[in-house]
Amino acid sequence: MSSCEDRLRAVFVVIFQVEAEKVHHMTMDSYPEWDSLRHIELVSEIEDRFGIELSNREVASLQSFTALRNRVCGESSQ
């Protein structure tokens, strides 16, 4: 069974068409293709796959793989 982090990484791979090894360090600031519309596509896919609901405030603040991992998988996943 894949871990929560693996499942989240898989979402990034699908949305951004990147190699899984590159996902860990991705942030909105460092990855130009991660614009505001792609961000909404990403969080919507995460909500669907993980059965969670993120507030608009959370969506605005969760701007890195690490931040999303901590929110979706919990701080203990670090």
């Binding site: 519309l37 596509e41 896919e45």
Partner: protein, 134 residues
Amino acid sequence: MKFHHIGHASRNLETSAQVLTSLGYTAESPIIVDSLLEVRLQFWVGTESPRIELLEPIAGAGPLAPILRSRAGAYHYAFIFDSQDVAEKWTQASRMRPISSPMPAVAFPEHTVQFMGWPDGSLFEVIVNGGISS
């Protein structure tokens, strides 16, 4: 809620206008300079065709510029709502997320505009009659 227009990103408004003219479209408005969105824009209408808003970035800057770096063409769908409350309920039910805050609509006196993102990553423009609620 009522359909209003399709937004078409253009690198040269006059060139795009020539294409619309050849398709039977006519200008519905003068060219409007929207300094808030940093665009020149113009509305076009055709018989039994949807209204199109041509938008060209001013000096290659503003929120439209990065969209045009990908490609020109249709990039947003605009609907008009009777009130902010109705718009918020509908966009929330449709799982839309705000890209911008509501701002005065330069092209529509007494209206506001707000850009939202759809879950599929496309762009939606909310035009609200009545201005910004305090």
